[in-house]
Amino acid sequence: MRDNTKCFKFGSCFLADPDNRQLMSLLYNRAILHLDLDAFFVAVECLKNDSLRGKPLIVGGTSDRGVVAACSYEARRFGVHSAMPMKMALRLCPDALVLRGDMDSYSRYSHLVTEIIADQAPVFEKASIDEFYLDLTGMDRYFGCMQWSGELRERIMKESGLPISFGLSVNKLVSKVGTGEVKPNGTIAVPSGTEKGFLAPLSTNKIPGIGKETYKKLSFMGVRTVKVLSEIPMGLLQREFGKHGQELWRKANAIDDAAVVPYEEQKSMSSERTFQQDTLEVGKVRDLLRGMTERLAFDLRKANKLTSCVTVKIRYADFNTYTMQRRIAYTATDGPLQETALDLFDRLYQRRQLLRLIGIKFSGLVQGHYQIDLFNDTLEEIHLMQAMDRIRNRFGHQAVMRASGLG
């Protein structure tokens, strides 16, 4: 969550004091729209193959360790939900069709929707691949927010063919909860002044930010609805939940002054791999890491970016997770990135225990091309890398790679 003492910028007036009366009135008169594509991955699959419509459908990993990335509403009826282990999902709904999923086409459709929104909206934030926040404050005077939003939704559905729901209210929190309530294929407006009443009867786990643990703890305390939560004094919540308690209270009282932050450049790139079976074979893990780094470095070059920070993550079989990062000179070439990644891995892997997962992340990204080094790079290496990139651009990631990364 955003620190609520931060400065907010509204048009020409810039206020640093959150208690300022003018600012508060501006906050309460905000109009925030939350758009969410319904069962996005599944909807895209249905679009590509019409015969899948109306069937219980699950998109996700098919291996033993796979998890559900998305599922159709037909499958949800059986109790399947996303982030559930695939094994369990199939036990609940044995007849479900399982698809591997195709990230490329999902991001293509997501991009299509983003373009429509960018075309229409004054300020928008792409919160995830299928979720958007729009700040419509002040638009009421000219269009009527609800009518405008409805027209935007119609246009998205007509042009992309994907079902989408929205919630319109005074802040991000209430809008998002509203969308969740009317899904699928619904719209809702929670006008200013009614937002507290709207949240009151709902179960506490409907509030974003209240996860499994907090929900459990609240239930033990006998707090099941948002209404009860909102009536607890903030001090008490703070005692029970620490810093998080204050946030809980604010959320329960429908207070959220987070701003809609316009779409930002990608800040990092990462890749993770969970092993089929926990492993002790360090040699193989290192090879895998080498391969993952090579692939991610290709993505980096394809996006015309350079990285200045490499992070390696490992998770042991007991779910203890460790990460280590190192700053490096801006680069996008395989050699130094692999060297750094492997060195970080060797420093991280200290306990002689089974490994469950490894991951690699590049951050501190900047647009640009790799500055060739006079002494460390040879023309042959550069030509080799460029030739490999050309092949990958044409035939895909898997077309060519260094044997050392095969694992």
Binding site: E265, R301, K302, N304, L306, A329, Y330, A332, T333, V366, Q367, G368, H369, Y370, Q371, I372, D373, L374, F375, N376, L379, I382, H383, Q386, D389, R390, N393
Partner: protein, 371 residues
């Protein structure tokens, strides 16, 4: 011990040597100036263990001796005084220093001068005499190309090669390289050393164009002396990379362009490039040079076209604009020649009309453009 000296003259001398004092010295006494008096001569020394500079001036003193005086407070005191004689009175027991001006007295705690680390003295027989102007040129043409990477220690300094007929300075940070050769006779032996950036910067600030500089050296130190100062500088003990091997020799494409026009163009275009990477594109074809850049994050874009003369295959090559500007800034001829072979090999900048006795070669590595 007591001596009197003109405040302005002392300040001038202190400022000549104060550059040697480091920010966080290992020994507290290195935050001090060492004052050594012998007869009518006061010698002031500043040091950071790697570099020591001393200078001297005439004073009237009642006896010989030495004391270390905190540099910062002394400099600031003198800066705050109008020109006048000031008297220093040093207590030989506890090294406290009392300064008397016409306005009043200032007392500060000095330290025993004997605790000040010894400075190395020239012991080699080899000696090179070079004019201040020539040395100034050599330094300013090369020093900007040195690196900052502590993993590559050698490149943090400037390589100094002494041969019977030439003196050569080389600096590189692996992305750009400058080789400055000067015809110079008088030295009979060959030698090479790596000088630190700090020592050359200090030297550049203290030498005048008209005075000669005498350079001495041994295995671990170089010594520079001018009528004003004597400086000893520890050399970087590392192997300098083989720079000759990486200078491409076969560069069939040659571009000649006005230095000023090119520099101004690059300056303007670089405003529109990404602020971190500063990358610009040169598209070169017969008779025209197109310079362009873009910053996707801010939707900035710029293009300019220059007339030039070009022989060879048309090509597009990307460079860091900062490197080009640094080089174009120090070159003095009206036109520059840029020699290229391919988009992934070094570009070489040369002054179109080199000055007498000088041989300057500047090399800049391109960026790896996508397919």
């Amino acid at each position: 011990m007591k001596f009197t000296v003109s405040s302005a003259e002392l300040l001038k001398k202190l400022q000549l040597v104060s550059g040697a004092i480091g920010n966080n010295p290992v020994l507290p006494i290195l935050e001090d100036f060492l004052f050594t008096i012998s007869g009518p001569k006061l010698t002031i020394t500043a040091s950071d263990l790697d570099i020591s500079i001393n200078t001297s001036l005439e004073i009237s003193a009642d006896q010989d001796g030495e004391v270390a005086i905190p540099a910062r407070i002394l400099l600031d005191t003198l800066k705050g005084l109008p020109e006048q004689p000031v008297t220093f009175q040093v207590d030989p027991d506890n090294y406290s220093v009392e300064i008397t001006s016409i306005f009043g007295k200032y007392k500060l705690a000095g330290e025993n001068g004997a605790d000040f680390p010894d400075t190395p003295t020239p012991d080699g027989v080899d000696e090179i005499r070079i004019s201040g102007m020539e040395l100034h040129h050599m330094i300013s043409h090369t020093i900007f190309a040195t690196g900052n990477d502590e993993m590559r220690l050698a490149m943090m300094g400037v390589y100094f090669l002494i041969e019977p007929d030439t003196l050569t300075f080389v600096a590189t940070d692996a992305h750009k390289l400058v080789r400055y050769k000067l015809s110079h006779s008088g030295q009979d032996s060959s030698a090479s050393m790596i000088l630190t950036k700090k020592s050359l910067n200090l030297l550049k600030g203290t030498i005048n164009d008209t005075d000669d500089v005498v350079i001495n050296y041994n295995k671990s130190n170089a010594f520079f002396s001018t009528p004003e100062i004597q400086m000893s500088a520890r050399l970087i003990d590392a192997r300098y990379p083989d720079y000759n091997a990486v200078i491409p020799t076969n560069n069939p494409n040659t571009l000649t362009v006005s230095r000023k026009d090119f520099l101004n163009s690059v300056k303007r275009i670089s405003l529109y490039a990404n602020k971190t990477t500063n990358q610009i594109l040169l598209t070169i074809s017969n008779g025209s040079l197109t310079i362009s850049s873009q910053d996707i994050d801010f939707s900035n874009e710029a293009t300019e076209q220059l007339t030039c003369s070009f022989e060879g295959e048309p090509m597009t090559i990307g460079f860091n604009a900062k490197y080009l500007m640094e080089m174009l800034n120090v070159i003095q001829s009206d036109e520059v020649k840029i020699e290229l072979s391919s988009p992934h090999r070094a570009g070489i900048l040369l002054p179109a009309e080199p000055a007498e006795g000088e041989d300057i070669l500047m090399l800049v590595m391109p960026v790896m453009l996508g397919n």
